[in-house]
Structures are given as structure tokens and as C-alpha cells.
Symmetry: C2
């Protein structure tokens, strides 16, 4: 009966646990584990589909290498020796890394498919996420990415309802069903054209802003919730005010030169970098920041595809200089 080489199987199919064990681990360890599981050379040999003599020899070889018996031979019954118990207990930890590696590689190769359901607040969803999605999509072409651009509050809702796997948004105080796996506090300020009167003010306050027409987010935009107390407490007279539901529209209104848009710099970093817009953080005491985070459900682990995406996203944002981050 011929020996079965590791490559002797169609590579288009996923590797089974037993095959990938043979790829990575010495037969002596594999056969030891089988014997430790069944406490029988013959039963282990049947499960491994090899001759019992092969199992006996491999175990003996491992005992020689370690210099101690791994089994107590009691007449014709086997018991794990103390050393065998130690090795058996520790070798259980070899399974997960190799299965994870192979699963992830199969996802990479496309022999395994999957999907990731993502939601993001618009400012991040239209600025930084596209680059991440592009890089990720190139690497994992067989993965389906399902992306929604929605307000932060709805990102949280969909996470809790398990309609999405990962969220990107601004949330100061997440509910307990949600973990913030990566967080950055981002400063809030005023966005305006360079020739706006406030553009040259170094220590800008909300009161100064209120002397000019303002563009702010509607209540469902997370920034609004944060700045609302300052809007109310800083003004007896409401300035000309426009409320919008799109960060992009805030940027466009600022570009028009008439309005000062109250927001974080996220979503306008290209215009700021090019000099077409100016961002001035608000210097009022007590103005909070807006808290950006990568959101996942608390207490439950992600499936493979979302988990891989999550690691990529985390690394991506950790290496990113998020504009306005304190």
C-alpha cells in the first residue's frame, strides 16, 4: 500500500483538519495525540488509517526524543503517564493556530467564500473607508463586502440587531452590547473658506461663530448631539442657520464661502490639505471631542471573514493620522 504524500489531493478543495495536521506536524505527535485520545494503539491506527505498528513506532520514537514514557502500559491497556498528560494538554493548543491560518489562506485563495457586512458614518465612510475597502477587496477577491453609509446612531442599532458585523462611527457612549475596539477622539471646529472673516482668527470660539451664518448637522448626525449644548448656551440670538443631513453638504456649504460649517475635519481633509478650506478647532472651554470608533458586538466573536476584515481595519486606522485626532 503506497504512502500518501501531502500534496496528493486536489488543491482546489479546503484542507480537512486531519490533512492539515499532517502538513504541519510530525507523525509522531499526531499519532501520540490519537493514542492519547483513544487510549488504544489499535483504535488510533484505525482512525488514522495506518497500521498499528506505525503508531507503536512513532510513539516510541517520541518517547525516546523526550526521554520519558508517555503511556503506562498496564498489561494490554494504556494509560497516559504524567508526562503524556502534560504533552497532551499542551498539544491541544496547536490546532487553533493552524486551522486559523489555513482558513484565512483559503479565504485569500478564494476557495472559501464569505461576506462582511459593514456600516459607516458618512464622514468616515466616504473618506477613509474606500481606501481600506479597496485594499482589502484586492487581497480577498472572493469576499463580498456589504457596505452601508448611515448615521452613527443607526450604525449602533444595526450592530445590536446583528444586521451588520462591523461599524465605523462616532459614538460617545456606546450601549453595553457594543464594544469600541479602536477609538480616537477628534476635535470639533469650524470649517470655512480661506477668505472668510473667521479664517484668520487664531483662538476661535462658538460665540464668534454665532456672529456668522452657520451650517450644522441635523440631530441624527452625531456631531450635532455633541455641540447642541454649546449652540444653546452661547447665543441669545440664533444666527442664520442651515441644518443638513449630509457631511458632504456641510463641506460644500463651507466651500461656498458664506457659511461656517461646524464639524470635525474628517470628510474635508482633501479640501483642507489643498488649502481650499480652513479648519479651526473651537477653543471654548468644555467643548467635547467627537469620539470615532470601530464598533463590534460585545461578547460574541466574529466569524472568519469579518474577523479578518476587522484586523485589517484596526491596523489601517492605527497607522492613519486621523485628522483632528487629539
Amino acid at each position: 500500500m503506497e504512502h500518501r504524500p501531502a500534496a496528493d489531493r486536489p488543491r482546489e478543495h479546503a484542507l480537512s483538519s486531519s490533512l492539515l495536521a499532517r502538513v504541519f506536524h510530525q507523525p509522531s505527535l499526531l499519532y501520540f495525540n490519537a493514542v492519547a485520545t483513544h487510549l488504544s494503539i489499535r483504535e488510533a491506527a484505525r482512525r488514522l488509517d495506518v497500521a498499528s505498528s506505525a503508531v507503536t513506532r512513532q510513539v516510541a520514537q517520541l518517547e525516546d526524543a523526550l526521554g520519558i514514557a508517555l503511556f503506562l502500559r498496564e498489561k494490554r491497556r494504556l494509560r497516559l503517564s504524567p508526562a503524556g498528560e502534560i504533552l497532551f494538554r499542551h498539544s491541544r493548543r496547536l490546532v487553533a493556530p493552524m486551522e486559523a491560518a489555513v482558513s484565512e489562506i483559503e479565504l485569500l485563495r478564494g476557495v472559501r467564500a464569505g461576506s462582511v457586512r459593514i456600516a459607516a458614518a458618512e464622514s468616515v465612510g466616504l473618506s477613509f473607508l474606500p481606501i481600506l475597502l479597496t485594499e482589502f477587496g484586492k487581497r480577498y477577491p472572493r469576499l463580498t463586502l456589504d457596505v452601508a453609509i448611515i448615521p452613527s446612531a443607526e450604525v449602533v442599532e444595526r450592530l445590536v440587531d446583528e444586521r451588520i458585523d462591523i461599524g465605523f462611527g462616532f459614538i460617545a457612549k456606546p450601549p453595553r452590547q457594543v464594544d469600541v475596539a479602536f477609538r480616537r477622539d477628534v476635535s470639533i471646529g469650524a470649517l470655512m473658506s480661506p477668505d472668510h472673516p473667521l479664517a484668520t482668527v487664531q483662538h476661535l470660539t462658538m460665540a464668534q461663530c454665532l456672529d456668522h451664518p452657520l451650517a450644522v448637522g441635523k440631530p441624527e448626525i452625531s456631531i450635532r448631539e455633541v455641540i447642541e449644548p454649546f449652540l444653546k448656551s452661547s447665543a441669545n440670538i440664533t444666527p442664520p442657520l442651515v441644518e443638513v443631513s449630509s457631511i458632504r453638504l456641510l463641506v460644500e456649504l463651507a466651500l461656498g464661502g458664506h457659511y461656517v460649517s461646524i464639524m470635525t475635519p474628517i470628510g474635508a481633509q482633501n479640501e483642507i490639505a489643498s488649502g481650499r478650506l480652513v479648519f479651526r478647532p473651537l477653543q471654548d472651554g468644555g467643548v467635547p471631542t467627537n469620539r470615532f470608533g470601530i464598533l463590534v458586538r460585545a461578547g460574541s466573536s466574529l466569524h472568519l471573514a469579518p474577523a479578518i476584515f476587522y484586523e485589517h481595519a484596526k491596523a489601517y486606522f492605527e497607522n492613519l493620522s486621523l485628522p483632528g485626532a487629539v
Copy 2:
């Protein structure tokens, strides 16, 4: 040049990392890891002390098995491919389990020595610990066990000062430098001879006890701290009282028939089981229990020998019906 079999080295010596890797893992994974580390077939071959052709072939075989390239060959430079990065990252987790297993086995075999410094409160130290120490000592004959029988408060002190590795004692509220890894609340009561007048009282109170001569622990015995408020609040008249610094002496005084000893049943379980003494838990509302625990230093991991002893101790006490445990 001949092949070096795994058994070809003196077994009396500890296994090096590279040798134990060869014992457990396929050469293809080993060589892959070396190449991934050095990003050079030739450099990896030098470090592994094999021919570069062997390394090239083993990596190729692994690539065949997984169905994907693990390296990008750029002219004559290698870079890890995405799949290679995945495998490399996951395979790092194979090292610790095998090194831990071999270290522990070497401790078992006695080729590696070590010591465990232990301190225990007398009640546990003279009752349950000897069995544990005996079992453990038989299994690990080359380990030195350094055991002190001291009051619980001093157990905690020595832990914090790093003069011991593991403590067994009673402590209601450990300092933050100490973790209680295993805990049981043990009831406090009265120990007396069977013909003592209180022996037949079913719902015994401290007040009833105070009508009789009492034996209690000195302030350094942990029980005393717990019962002190009840001694003070239950009596206007102090009964004849003897204070001792030894649990064993409390047991002996109870055996004498004259005194009622206030303690937990731990330290007297043999006398109680044989009927020579009777234990009655105090039924007063609000009488706390005495908290027994296995104590380790918070925030720092144990060295190998103490870690192994700790696992044994934990398993031992988990399977033990500690007398008086609630």
C-alpha cells in the same frame, strides 16, 4: 553528511528550541518559518545547518500543499506573500505550547530542577497541605518545596514581599497586590467535646457560647479578626477565656472537655469525623464566614515550578470537600 535523527543526542540534557521544533513540526513548516524570518533561502539554510536546496524544496512542498505561494520571488529577493504573512503570524503560536510541554516534562523527569516557596496558615497547612505536598513531591522528585506554617496575615506579607510564591490562608479582603485564585467561604462555629452541655444545642449562638469557658485565637489568627465584633457585642461579662496562637492547641483544648473553641472545622476534621469532637456552626445573624484562598501575587506570572504546583493545588482543592465550606 549524514542525516541527524531526532533521537541522536543525549537525552539527559534539556531540549533546545530548535531540537524540539524538529521533534514536533514538519521540516517544511520549520524551514518556512526560517525563510520568513530571514527573507533568504540561503541565510535560512545556514541558520538551520542544511543545504539551501533542502529549504527550497520544503518551502515549495508547503506551497503545493496549501495551493498558494508563500513568498513573492522578485528577481532574487524574497518577500512574504499575503498567504505567507498569514501562516507566519499564526505559526508563532506554536512555539509556546511545545516549549511549555517540554519544560514541564523535563521538570517531571528531573533534568530540570526548580523550587516552590509555599506558606500556609496552620489549619490548612497541617491538615490538607501535607497530602498535596506528598502527591506533588512524588510526581516531581527534583523539585524543592520550601514550606512555612505561619499566620494568614504573614502569608500575605510574604507574598507581597516576594519571599514566597504561593500562599494558603484565610483572608477576607486581600490587598490589591494579591490575587485569590481559588476561594471558599468556611463557616465559623464552636468545637467541643460530645459531652459538653452545648453539644446537643441545635441552633447555637455566640451568646450561648459565652456562658461557657472559651478558647479563641490570638489577634494574629485570622478567625479572631472575624469574630472579634461578636465577642464584644454579645457579652457584657467576659467569660473565662484563653487566647492561643495555635489552631492545634484550640483542638486540644476542646478535646479536654472544659473549653469551647471558636474556629472553623478545618484542623479538626479527623476528630470530628471520628466523633471525638463536635462542631456546631454559629447561627447568629450576621456572623461572617472565614474566607480560605490560594493566594498568588497579582499581575505577575509564576515561574514554571510554582505554576505547575499552583495548577496541582487548584485541582486538589477543587476536588476536595473542604469541611465547613458553604
